[in-house]
Amino acid sequence: MGATVTTAATKEKVWGGGASQQPLGASYGKMMMWYFILSDALTFCGFLVAYGFTRFKFIDSWPIADEVFNHFPFLHGMNLPMYYVALMTFILIFSSVTMVLAVDAGHQMKKNKVAVYMLLTIVGGFIFLGSQAWEWKNFITGTYGAVETQGGQILQFVDKDGKRVALADFADTSVPNERVALNNSEAFWFLGNSTPPTYSVAQIQAGLEKNPDVLIRTQFDEGRHKKVILSREETLAQASQFKYVVEGANLVRNEYGHKSFADLFFFITGFHGFHVATGVLLNIIIFFNVLLGTYERRRSYEMVEKVGLYWHFVDLVWVFVFTFFYLV
């Protein structure tokens, strides 16, 4: 501004640079990090709203999250909804705390303290990423398996008490499986072939007839957050409609219910996981800069504060993902 003609009256109102009288009281870098976070938050808002839209659209046939996410490491076969994601939330909140402690140590120009807290934050980030990988593994593998009908609905199986029954528990394996996996060992390496499900539709149909206790549970709510269970006659009548055996989840179909459920799960938690991975990478870069004394020489640890903002943002998004995917 110094080069342009200004009058004494306007001089004080115009910002010509300098830290003390900035309009928003934040340095350029910090301000831009905040506005990036703002735009990124709107992106996530769009994703979560898309999830909400799809859920309201299929409000009477949406999967029950408690039944989908009920695994905990080393505790197989137990129904433990929510505990694992709660643990993941704590991991992320705790790594947010170590991050903010690193920023705090930076304000006091304590290089070693900053480095230790940054390292802890990075470790927390890796633990979270590992947890998410495990969560995805369970989601993709599935537990019980289901069947898709001609009309594209997912039918699950329950016993007389309404407890879920896995395909493996009743499928009739004496019926020959018409589809076999082609392996390299059989010199079929040149053929493209997706992995067939463990059981064929015919095996499920035969097993359903042989086991009088097995009933079909549909995707639809009968009210009070319970799914409609068909009677034995209706179950047998539905059997002719079976089209695919579905085990676990992919982007086309999943055993949990509506197709969009898995798509949105993969997309939203995946996009969040990508943010965490980026955050870990940024933290590692800053961690090495701290070790090299870059910020010590700069006499300012503001860079730690800026990546800190991003890291907290990742935590912030997880708080919302946690609510809308697992709680609501």
């Binding site: 830290a19 309009p23 928003l24 009281g25 934040a26 340095s27 910090k30 301000m31 905040w34 506005y35 703002l38 938050a41 709107l42 808002c45 769009g46 709203v49 898309a50 909400g52 839209f53 309201f56 659209k57 299929f58 409000i59 009477d60 408690d66 909804p81 929510m82 505990y83 709660a86 704590f90 909140i93 705790f94 947010s96 705390v97 991050m99 903010v100 402690l101 920023v103 705090d104 304000h107 006091q108 009309g151 594209g152 009070r224 957050h225 503001e302 504060e305 800190g308 903002l309 907290h312 943002f313 935590d315 912030l316 708080v319 919302f320 946690f322 609510t323 697992y326 709680l327 609501v328």
Partner: protein, 117 residues
Amino acid sequence: MGANAHGSNTKRIWMVFIYLSLLTIVEVALGIVKPAFLFYTEFLTLSLLNWIFILMTIWKAYYIMWAFMHLEGEKASFRWSIVGTLAFLCVYLTAIVLIEGEYIHQVFQNSSYKWIF
């Protein structure tokens, strides 16, 4: 930068960590127990339990943004430029899109379309 001149904030940080942990524990406990009167009472097409979850989430978001991201130390104008924009656009988008989702559900129920739409 003005806010950076402060001393150590460690006590506040650990307090906020405790608040966030407590909120999460309450959320998880409610999510597991699902008290019937909250779970089955609806308000504006959402159960009371879901409203509680959403409010507690925003409460947690407040702690993260104000304490961890240090918005409480920024100028009010800067704070408004971020939180005001975000709150307005998110509420607007959410309201309009969810109402539309509910409408499409009604179309499913009351018209001849049955599954694919």
